[in-house]
Symmetry: C2
Subunit: 491 residues, 2 copies
C-alpha cells in the first residue's frame, strides 16, 4: 500500500511555479460551481504519518480556494459533551452541508489506528471499528457526498529526517513534541496497522489516496489535482452509481402479517389501569434514578398509525420522569440545515447525554414509512435505510443506550371512530387535518411498509414492540411495562 | 420582596381538584395556539430556594401541557465546551424557537447569586452581572419573547421543615444532599442576596413572580394560572409596547463624515507589499501560537461596501493562520432555525473556543446596515441594535476575546471600475449581480448607516478600524498590521 509512496517523488520549483496558478484558479472555479450547484457536500479526510505535511496541505487547500466556504475541523481530545455520546457523534457534528467543502483532520480512522497501536483495543475490536467505518462511508457516499480520503506517508527514514529538520529550525521547533518521538519509536507497528486500516476501508466509492509527503511541491500539487479532478468529474454530472435493490420485500403469500395476527380485544378496566399506571410510573422513575443509569441513556421511539395514541402515551411516560432529564423530540419535516446533510443527521443532533432520556415522537423510521409510501425518497433510498438504521442503532447501543421502539397499532375501524370523535370535539378538532384522511386512504400501503420495517429492523439489540392500542389503557400500561423491563435488563 | 410569600398560602385539595382540570385544558389549548401562531417564544425561568418545589412545578407544567413542544433545560455544572466560551453562551444555546415553550431551570440568575453567597465575587461584580442580565432580558423581551420568571420561596422555618420531611420519607430521601444542608446554613445570606438580585432584575416587561412553595396545591395552581393568563393575553394580541426611539441619528450639518475625510490616495508598491505581507503574516502567525493566546480568542469582523475587497483580504488573513484553528463564517440570510430565535443567536452559535479564531465575512452589523437601509427590520429594531451589539461585544471581550472590526471603504468611482472589471472578466462575472447594482444606487443611504454605526459602536473595547481600500495592497497590510497590534496589546 505504501510502496509507491516511498519512491522519493518530487516536483521541481519550476514545474510547481508553472502548475500552481492554473490549478489554483481551476480549484476556485470548481468550488464556486459546487456552491452554486449545492446538491452535494465534499468531505476531505486527512490522515497519515506525523510530519508528512498534513497540516501544510490543509493550509494550502484553504489558501487556494475560498476559505469562507470551507469548514476545517481538527479532531483532538474529545470534549466532555462528545465523550458522553456515541463514538461517531463528533464526526456527525462536523459534517459539512451540501455545496460546501469540509476538511476533516484526524477523522474517524485515527482513533482505531492509534488505539490499536497503543494496544488499547484488540484485533477483533479493531476489525469491528473498521467495518463500521466502511458502513459509515458507504452511507455518506450513497447520500451523494463526494468523499476523498488522503493519507500522507513518509518512510521511516524520511520521517526521522523530517522531524529532525523541523527541530533544527527555530521557527518550527515548537511543532515537534515528545509525543512525536514516542510515536516514531512505534513507526513499524504504526505502519503495519495503518496499512490494515487503509486496505480494509479502501473501497470503490471511497478509496484512500496515498500521497508521499516528503516533497512539499509534489504533495500539494497531487492533493490539489486529485481534488480538482474529482470535483470536476462530479460537477460534470457523473454521479456515483447507486446500486439498485436486487429485490423489494414482498408481502407473504397467505396475507398473514404481524399486524393482522395481533389481539386487538385486550382491554384494561379504568380501576386496574389507575393502579398499574401508578405502579409502573413509579418503577420507571426509580429505574431512571438508579446509579447504574448514569452511565446509560434511554432512547424511546414512538411510531404508529394516525390517532393511535402516541401523544397521550408519551405523556404517561414523560409523566414518570423528571423534566430535567428527558427531552421529547417531535419529528416533522426537516429544516433546511437538516436537509443539507445526511438523512440521519437530524437524529444524531438530538442524542441524549449519559443519564438522560430522549423520546422521539416519530423518528428515523419515517424514511421507510411516510417517505416510502409518499415517494418522498427513491426506492434505493428507503431500501438502503434498513441497513443504515440498523447500523445507527447498533452504535447507540454500543455506546450504552437502551433503545425501546414502539409501534402503536389500531384497527382501521377504530381509527375511523377516533377521527370522527376528534372532528366533533371542539378542543380536539385541531388534531385532525385533511392529511390524516388522505393518509387513511393509503392504509394498505402503510401496513405493508410497517410489516417490512419490523421485519428488517427488529433485532435483539433494538427490538420493536408492537402494541395493540385499540384500548388506550391497555396500550399505555404495555408501553410502561416494556420500558421498565428493558431498563431492568440493561442495568 | 418575600414577605407575602411567607404567609402560609395554601389551597385545599377540594379546590385544587376543581380548578386543575379546567386550568389544564386551557393551558393545553393556549399551548397549541402558541404553536400554531408561531410568532414568539415563551421563556419560563425557574429559580428559588431549595426544596420549594421548583422541580415539581416544572414536572407538573410538562404534565399539564404537551411535553413534545416544551424544551426543559436544567443548568448544572458547565461542560468544557461551555466553559471555554462567554458566560451567556450556554443560555443562548438553550433558547427555544418561536412557537415553543422553554423552561430554564437554574438559568442566568443562579450563578451570580450563588457566587455572591459563596463570596466568590464581590458586590461590584455582582451588580455588574445583574445589569447585564437586565440588558439580556430586555433584548429577549424587545425581540418579542414572553418572559416569565418564577421564584419559589420558603421561609427559613419552612425550608428546614421541608428538608426534614423529604429526608424522613424513604422515597424522597435521595433528594436531600449535604450541599442542601450546607446551603441551608447560609439561608439568611442567600435570602438577602436573592432579594437584591430579584429587585434589580425585576423590571416592567419581566417582573419576578414570587410564589410561596410550601403548599404544592397553591404553588402549582399559581404557576399554572400565571402562565395561562400571560399566554392568553399575549395571544389575544396585547403585544408589549416597544419604545420608539426618541430621536434618530442625524447627519452632521456640515456634511463631514469619517468616510469623506479619509485619505483614499494611499498606495503600496507591489514590492513593498510583498515584503510587508510576509512580515505581518509571520507576526500574526506567531501571535496566534503564543502561549498566552490559549486563554484568549480572536474575533475578526469584515464589513465594507460591495467590491471593497473583503474576500481577498480575508484570504490574506487566513493565509497567516493554521487552518485547524480558524473558521470563516460567511453571513447570508438567516436559516429558519436562526430566524426563529433572537437576532444575535446565529452569531453566538459560531463563537470560537479559547485559542481559536473566527472570521466573520459580514456580521451582526447587518442589522444596522443592510437591514436598516432595505427596511428588513423596523426603526425600533435597528436603533435598539446599537446597544444590544455593544453589550454583546462587551461580553465577548470580558470572556477573553479580542475583537477587531474592519470597515473596508472605497470611493464610489472605484466601485464602478471594479464592478465593470468583474462584469468583463469571465471568471469574475459570478461575483457581480443585479443586486450589487441596486445596492450601488443606495450609496448615500449606506454611507449614512455606516457613519451612524461607527459613531454608535466604536469604543475602546471593540474599536472600528476604517480602512481606505482603493488600493488593495495598502488595505490588506493595514488590516494585518492592525490585527497584530490588537493581539500584541491583548497578550
Amino acid at each position: 500500500m505504501f510502496e509507491s509512496a516511498e519512491l522519493g517523488h518530487s516536483v521541481s520549483d519550476k514545474e510547481y511555479a508553472e502548475a500552481e496558478p492554473r490549478l489554483r484558479e481551476a480549484l476556485l472555479q470548481a468550488q464556486y460551481k459546487l456552491l452554486d450547484n449545492g446538491t452535494f457536500p465534499v468531505i476531505i479526510v486527512i490522515g497519515g504519518v506525523d510530519g508528512a505535511g498534513k497540516g501544510e496541505t490543509v493550509n494550502i487547500l484553504n489558501k487556494w480556494m475560498d476559505p469562507r466556504h470551507i469548514i476545517t475541523h481538527a479532531f483532538g481530545e474529545m470534549s466532555d459533551e462528545e465523550a458522553e455520546r456515541p463514538r461517531m457523534w463528533r464526526y456527525w457534528r462536523a459534517l459539512p452541508p451540501k455545496g460546501r467543502i469540509g476538511i476533516l483532520f484526524g477523522a474517524w480512522h485515527t482513533d482505531p489506528i492509534i488505539n490499536r497501536v497503543m494496544g488499547r483495543i484488540d484485533d477483533a475490536t479493531f476489525e469491528l471499528r473498521l467495518d463500521s467505518i466502511v458502513s459509515f462511508e458507504q452511507m455518506l457516499a450513497d447520500g451523494g457526498a463526494l468523499l476523498l480520503k488522503f493519507w500522507f506517508h513518509l518512510s521511516k527514514k524520511a520521517q526521522k529526517k523530517r522531524l529532525k529538520a523541523l527541530e533544527a529550525d527555530r521557527k518550527t521547533r515548537w511543532r515537534v513534541t515528545k509525543t512525536d518521538w514516542e510515536r516514531f519509536k512505534k513507526y513499524d507497528r504504526f505502519r503495519s496497522i495503518s496499512e490494515t486500516a487503509l486496505r480494509e476501508t479502501s473501497v470503490g466509492h471511497a478509496p484512500w489516496i496515498v500521497v508521499e509527503g516528503a516533497d512539499a511541491n509534489y504533495r500539494s500539487l497531487t492533493a490539489g489535482q486529485t481534488l480538482l479532478d474529482a470535483l470536476q468529474s462530479r460537477l460534470a454530472g457523473s454521479a456515483p452509481a447507486v446500486s439498485r435493490p436486487a429485490a423489494l420485500p414482498k408481502p407473504a403469500l397467505d396475507g398473514r402479517t404481524i399486524l393482522s395476527r395481533l389481539d386487538y380485544t385486550k382491554r384494561l378496566a379504568r380501576k386496574t389501569y389507575s393502579k398499574e399506571l401508578e405502579k409502573y410510573q413509579g418503577r420507571l422513575n426509580l429505574l431512571t434514578r438508579d446509579k447504574k443509569f448514569r452511565n446509560k441513556s434511554l432512547i424511546i421511539v414512538f411510531e404508529g398509525m394516525d390517532a393511535a395514541g402516541k401523544g397521550s402515551t408519551i405523556r404517561r411516560v414523560s409523566g414518570a420522569l423528571d423534566a430535567r432529564h428527558y427531552q421529547v423530540i417531535p419529528i416533522a419535516a426537516p429544516t433546511e440545515e437538516e436537509h443539507a446533510r445526511p438523512y440521519l443527521w437530524r437524529f444524531w443532533r438530538h442524542l441524549p447525554r449519559r443519564g438522560r432520556v430522549t423520546i422521539f415522537d416519530r423518528s428515523w423510521y419515517g424514511r421507510v414509512l411516510v417517505e416510502r409510501v409518499e415517494k418522498f425518497c427513491s426506492e434505493e433510498d428507503w431500501m438502503r435505510a434498513y441497513h443504515e438504521i440498523n447500523n445507527f442503532e447498533e452504535e447507540l447501543v454500543e455506546a450504552g443506550a437502551v433503545i425501546a421502539k414502539f409501534w402503536l397499532t389500531i384497527t382501521k375501524q377504530e381509527q375511523l371512530e377516533r377521527f370522527r370523535e376528534r372532528k366533533d370535539t371542539p378542543f380536539k378538532s385541531f388534531k385532525i387535518t385533511a392529511e390524516d384522511w388522505r393518509n387513511r386512504k393509503k392504509w394498505g400501503d402503510y401496513e405493508r411498509a410497517v410489516c417490512d420495517m419490523i421485519e428488517s429492523t427488529s433485532n435483539e439489540t433494538a427490538p420493536w414492540h408492537v402494541i395493540a392500542a385499540n384500548d388506550k389503557f391497555y396500550a399505555r400500561i404495555e408501553v410502561l411495562k416494556t420500558l421498565c423491563e428493558s431498563l431492568e435488563r440493561a442495568l
